[in-house]
């Protein structure tokens, strides 16, 4: 029996060896980095290998021009938010400037927080430079995820908006700077307005009146203003317009402000507008707001500036735009969309990362941002966004734009869909003051950690 046991052992070992071989084959024959680089059409064919080598090198980069062979990674948020030309320009310029390679990875917004949580603390896998939504940034500045940018600030030039810098600041230190801003404004169907004999509204009240009139003039299911119930990013503009806020800091404590008289006034107006002018679903969000407009089912919708390019040609002729009007005229403060950009604290190539930041804030890149309709961080370039009504609406809306509370816990509020549900309930007709007071308590709990 002894011999037989040995035979069996030998056989099992062989099997195990086969298994191991299968395992290692998996990792070598089909190295996923190949896939990644093949797609980046304009880049050198041997870049895949360069990437591999660079990932194994832990030494920090030397100075600029001699960094050939080094690779740094830039994470851009959203699959298409930064236009491809801008990405290509960055890759080329970065290589010319430093000799090193820039690898750009696009992270869908839905995966950004999850991936950041994993990668940012990890020196092996962290992106060197990362774009992040302006409301997400405070969550990471407080845990030391980003490099202190104080030393770099001066070189980056004049930057803003101020709210974005605040979002990227923790304990007086700037960790993340504005990448681009976007603003939300109202798109409208000029033909529908002239048919109904309406003028472009100049106050929030006039907007409600016009929207409700348009809804009543239209077919069943027609929206005067497309206003999805859970679309809080647009909805909070009504709070801001009336002088309210989501939450305010009193001392070192966050206090919910949704139930303040100003906020309640704004929310009530929004609720009436939803009930009277919108047929959008109560659980609708801000995605694809132009769809009903394209389908002839809405006369107005509120969206970030790029939504313009999703309006169909047949509708585009009559497409107009105006910034959300304030309560007493002027322009209402809207929610400031946009992104910040930062260097990961765990980056192994901080010098190169800083070089990339300089490129991003270079005149050339700022120009390209503005020309592509993305609000440039450097205000000197804002005028390059154009002077048509869309650009004007974007710029004037941005002047008054506000952000969500700069609490490090704000991301938790977003992932728990607190604001979506809050607006959804108001759209559902619940009593504004009651719901607001309830959610204020929830916000205080969450924002104070």
């Amino acid at each position: 029996m002894k011999l037989s046991t040995m035979t069996r052992a030998a056989v099992v070992t062989t099997v195990a060896a086969t298994l191991l071989a299968a395992c290692s084959q998996g990792s070598t024959t089909d190295d996923p980095t190949d896939d990644a680089t093949e797609d980046a059409a304009d880049e050198g064919a041997d870049e895949g290998e360069a990437t591999d080598e660079a990932e194994e090198t832990d030494e920090p980069a030397e100075t600029g021009g001699e960094a050939s062979g080094e690779t740094i990674t830039l994470w851009l948020a959203g699959e298409t938010d930064t236009p491809v030309e801008l990405e290509e320009w960055l890759v080329t310029a970065f290589n010319e400037e430093t000799g090193a390679t820039l690898e750009v990875q696009r992270i869908p917004w839905g995966e950004l927080l999850e991936r950041s949580n994993q990668a940012l603390p990890d020196p092996d896998n962290t992106p060197d430079v990362i774009e992040m939504g302006n409301t997400q940034v405070p969550t990471y500045t407080s845990v030391g995820a980003f490099e202190d940018l104080s030393g770099l600030l001066e070189e980056l030039g004049d930057i803003g908006p101020e709210g974005f810098i605040e979002a990227g600041t923790y304990d007086g230190t700037v960790y993340a700077v504005p990448y681009y801003w976007g603003s939300r404004y109202i798109f409208f169907d000029k033909a529908a307005f002239s048919d109904a004999g309406l003028e472009v509204p100049t106050t929030l009240d006039e907007l409600s009146t016009a929207a409700i009139a348009l809804r009543e003039a239209g077919d069943d299911g027609f929206s005067g203003l497309w206003l999805p119930g859970q679309d809080w990013r647009n909805g909070i503009s009504w709070i801001f317009a009336h002088g309210g806020d989501i939450a305010v800091k009193e001392g070192d404590q966050w206090v919910g402000a949704l139930s303040s008289p100003e906020s309640v006034a704004g929310l009530t107006q929004w609720q009436e507008l939803y009930a009277g002018a919108s047929t959008a679903p109560q659980d609708g969000k801000d995605a694809e707001a132009w769809v009903p407009f394209n389908n002839g089912e809405a006369a107005m919708f509120m969206a970030p500036s790029w939504a313009r390019w999703s309006v169909e040609e047949t509708k585009a002729e009559d497409l107009g735009a105006f910034a959300l009007p304030g309560v007493d005229g002027g322009v209402a403060p809207v929610f400031a969309g946009g992104s910040n950009i930062a260097i990961s604290a765990q980056s192994q190539n901080k010098e190169l990362a800083a070089d990339l930041m300089r490129l991003i804030f270079s005149d050339d890149y700022q120009t390209m941002l503005a020309e592509n309709g993305l609000g440039p961080a450097n205000p000197a370039f804002t005028e390059l966004m154009g002077d048509d009504e869309f650009a004007q609406a974007a710029i004037s809306a941005a002047e008054n734009a506000k952000l969500t509370p700069a609490s490090s816990e704000w991301a938790a509020v977003e992932t728990a869909s607190v604001m979506e549900e809050f607006f959804g309930r108001i759209a559902g007709g619940e009593d504004v003051a009651t719901v607001a007071a309830e959610v204020d308590g929830q916000l205080a709990d969450m924002l104070n950690g």
């Binding site: 659980d283 009903p292 938790a412 979506e420």
Partner: protein, 335 residues
Amino acid sequence: MDPQNRYENVGWTRKTTTKRVEMTTQETLAVAAPVRSRRRRRGGLGAYWLLVPAIAVLLIGEGYPLVRQVIMSFQEFGRAQQFGAPPEWIGLDNYRELFADAQMWGVVVRSLVFCAVNVALTMLIGTGFALIMLRAPRVPRVLLQVSMLLCWAMPVIAAMTAWQWLFDSRYGLINWTLTNLGLGDFTRHNWLIEPLSFYLVATVIVVWMSVPFVAFTAYAALTQVPEDALEAGQIDGANAWQRWRFIIYPSIRPALTIVLMLQIVWDLRVFAQIHYLQGVGGVPSETHLLGTYIYTLGVGQSEYGMASAFALFVLVLTLILTGRYVHALLKAETV
């Protein structure tokens, strides 16, 4: 007395004369399987060697993460800890906080009800379809099997896209059909906004996806019911129900029991479908089930300590629910 020794000797002594050292897996197994089923041989080290690959994979892929999960459930482990802050040992605090959380109990109750309804429907419909397959002529039967296969093979995300459009409030086929059949005004009816209606949609989808597995298994088991037994029943004048109750059901019961246990486990931790639907619409805080709640706690809010504690609680809950079946299975093992 041990009749298996006979095989043992024949088997192994023959093998020792084999000169080849390289053998395929199958050969090993042929060697290792010389015993009549159920009468198991007292194994030497051989059995352990055969378990090595499985145990190694399980230890690495599930065991180690599970141990870490247990540890984390006793720690304050959030985003700060992920970014390098030392995790603080807090004993049972996560559990205490969890059990004091009304929302969590709501999730548990909803999940139990959801699981019970879905498992019951899936089992009933699946077995029913199997009986239809058995009775239908060849062509319709194959057609039904192909249809089942098609929906079983549909990747979850693809299937969810289809259902999202079918239930869409403005352009969905279901609202259009219901309205045009005169069943009421379903124009722009929102299926996801009310939690109960949300779960109805989820149930339709989950049952639709799980029925094929049950149907195929039950059908395969049914084809093994001896024809004679059925005919004997018919001659005795047993009606359809009696034939099912006293002839068919007892013979496919073992198959159904295992499928039932698997369905309980799967439906209790249903994740992908709920997660997808929450992205489409509805009120997430009112529609969480166990899977999405753990996901939101952990991945969403970086409360890994809490998520770990909750996951362990869910594991215990599942064990309690399936305890009867597990116990029965184990009893069969020791015979």
